[in-house]
């Protein structure tokens, strides 16, 4: 809507002492959603403001009066009739954001409302019950809303936003009848006003209701406001399935959703196709259909009761954490962007990660995996595949590994001789007969007991660990076939103790 300067009506000066309608803007703004951070900038309101009349208008003309007191016509309203329970919504777009912020920032402005009757005479708005709000929205606009009742056939309302708004008389009996408004001071259903709720409007959170302190009305958000929300955090809010369904149906543009640690059984996010990040761990979720959320890059759904998780098409997925569920099939074979895969404690029998060369972390312990081809995953720094049924584990080329845990499997051979970055090696409860740790100069944690390691090999490992020169380490092993440490092994053991090592089992 365009603006144009017009001359101030000549009869305006005859209004005399205008009734000043004050607004507690500062108080209201403390609690508004999407408070912007431009407060404190003193920028004078000028004629550049572009004001939109959104709905509910029954007036002929609306003027905005800048500080200069030269009128700017901002809207020519065509609808005639009497004024009853009307709402005026002025949206000041981003181009005037600083100006809008100034209204509350300086805290000393006054807003005058008055109308012109059919004869063109100005009268101030009396006999009206009014409520108002000024919002600074995420959409970078300022919304000034008035609701009022009048039996007078108003034809004109002039909103003079000059200086010195210091106070407010918000109608305590305001009807809050206009669309997208909520009543302060009364319990509200969260599902009816989720936008208010999620933006920390919550003064009194009790189950699925909340209350906004104060009197009057507050704008609760329209379709466009919900669509403007791209990220919400509903962590640990006692949410249930039905509750989340109602809420999420409104936030159609979400890219990030956090709803962890709730009581959600079914999380219906199939329509949120813009999601890039979904964090819903620690719920009792049994059903999670994310197969069409192809924009997802981050999915954390661990510690639920999920039995089926179809991620096969989520080719942008970078982080997948689905540990501690009941998943039996996890097809990640085409997710070549994955860097983090945490799927331990499930019922997975087959895990094809052979092409996931970007993986840096793979944690798939406590499953039923019998084949795990990690031979080409040279970016891996952390691998935990313990408590599976793996018989062959080729880690020879994984020179970036710092932590390897393959305990409690069926491994006969473990070639770690080139893994010079290893700090932690846990491989107990296998059938390994030898380990070459001579080049593992960073190794300070070695647990290789319950294998087929003889006294000679154990002695050599002690010597190697001692030669590596590290302090305050831990070495646990056991001797297969009887016998005791060699002289060199015993000496190395004593030396390691003197370097602060704990040595267990030998």
């Amino acid at each position: 809507m365009t603006t144009s300067n017009i001359t101030r009506p000549s009869d305006f000066s005859n209004v005399g002492y205008l009734q000043e309608v004050f607004f507690v803007l500062e108080k209201q703004l403390v609690n508004i959603p999407y408070v912007i951070d431009t407060f404190g900038k003193e920028v004078k309101i000028d004629e550049t403001l572009d004001i939109l009349i959104e709905s509910g208008i029954d007036l002929l003309t609306m003027y905005f009066t800048p500080r200069s007191e030269s009128f700017t016509e901002v809207s020519q309203l065509t609808k005639n009739g009497k004024v009853y329970n009307q709402k005026l919504v002025l949206d000041i777009p981003s181009t005037s954001l600083e100006n809008a912020a100034t209204i509350q920032a300086i805290g000393n402005n006054k807003v005058f409302l008055y109308f012109r009757d059919r004869n063109g005479k100005f009268k101030f708005l009396r006999n009206m019950l009014m409520t108002s709000q000024l919002e600074l929205s995420e959409a970078h606009r300022t919304r000034l809303t008035f609701e009022f009742q009048s039996k007078l056939p108003a034809k004109f309302i002039d909103i003079a936003s000059a200086v010195n708004i210091t106070n407010a008389t918000v109608g305590t009996d305001a009807l809050c009848s206009y669309e997208h408004s909520a009543r302060k001071g009364k319990l509200l259903k969260v599902e009816d006003f989720p936008l208010l709720w999620i933006n920390d409007y919550v003064d009194d959170f009790k189950g699925n209701t909340f209350k906004i302190e104060g009197n009057g009305c507050v704008y609760s958000g329209g379709v466009s406001d919900y669509a403007a929300v791209i990220s919400i955090d509903l962590n640990n809010k006692s949410l249930t399935t039905n509750f989340t369904d109602v809420m999420l149906s409104k936030f159609v543009s979400l890219t990030e959703l956090v709803c962890a640690e709730n009581s959600i059984i079914v999380l219906n996010v199939a329509n949120l196709t813009s999601l890039t990040s979904l964090i819903c761990f620690s719920n009792p979720i049994s059903t999670l259909n994310i197969s069409n959320l192809t924009s997802l890059t981050f999915l954390a759904c661990a510690n639920n009761s999920i039995s089926t998780l179809d991620v096969s098409n989520l080719t942008f997925l970078n982080h997948l954490s689905c540990a501690v569920n009941s998943i039996s099939i996890l097809d990640v074979s085409s997710l070549t962007s994955l860097t983090y895969l945490h799927c331990h404690t499930n019922s997975i029998s087959t895990l094809d990660v052979s092409n996931l060369t970007s993986l840096t972390l793979l944690a798939c312990a406590s499953n039923s995996i019998n084949i795990l081809d990690v031979s080409s995953l040279t970016s891996l720094t952390f691998l935990n595949c313990a408590r599976n049924s793996i018989s062959i584990l080729n880690v020879a080329n994984l020179t970036s590994l710092t932590s390897l845990n393959c305990a409690t499997n069926l491994i006969n051979v473990l070639n770690v001789s080139n893994l010079t970055s290893l700090v932690t090696l846990i491989c107990f409860s296998n059938s390994i007969s030898t380990l070459d740790v001579s080049n593992l100069t960073s190794l300070t944690y070695l647990a290789c007991h319950l294998n087929q390691i003889t006294n000679t090999i154990n002695s050599q490992m002690l010597v190697d660990l001692d030669n590596n020169g590290n302090s305050n380490g831990f070495f646990q092993s056991s001797i297969t076939g009887g016998g005791s440490l060699t002289t060199a092994g015993s000496a190395a053991k004593t030396s390691l103790q003197a370097k602060g090592w704990n040595i267990v089992g030998i």
Binding site: Y445, G473, F474, S478, G500, N502, V504
Partner: protein, 128 residues
């Protein structure tokens, strides 16, 4: 405020109380001020399955008695007493396996866990 951490080597009762900047093996159980970390450590002793140990305190000198320990006992080993590089090992040997403990200690005691907590607390008051 100095910050500390309590670590534990998995599947063992080998704990280390250390300055948070120290590199320790095992998993970190708690981090924070000494009071916070110590309070957490004490909760470990309240677990029903814990063997708190009995008997008098035994001072261990020159590392003697720290090699091939086959009994179930609690030990406290002061490995570094500087508050900025603090490292105190608190260890319970299992009685099922042979333990050979660090010998690079400034002080070492074999005593019940409650006595260890008392000793560590008193010591920390002298350096904080």
């Amino acid at each position: 405020m100095k910050r500390f951490k309590l670590t534990r080597i998995e599947d063992t009762d080998i704990f280390t109380l250390a300055n948070e900047n120290e590199v320790c093996v095992g998993e970190t159980l708690a981090e924070g001020t000494f009071a916070e970390v110590f309070a957490f450590a004490q909760t470990l002793s309240e677990q029903p399955e814990i063997d708190l140990g009995t008997g008098d305190s035994v001072t261990i000198g020159n590392g003697i008695g720290l090699t091939d320990v086959s009994d179930a006992k609690w030990f406290v080993l002061f490995k570094d007493e500087n508050v900025d590089t603090l490292r105190i090992d608190i260890i319970r040997t299992s009685g099922n396996e042979i333990y050979s403990l660090p010998t690079n200690v400034t002080q070492a005691y074999q005593e019940p866990l409650v006595a260890i907590f008392t000793r560590v607390h008193a010591f920390m008051l002298t350096i904080l």
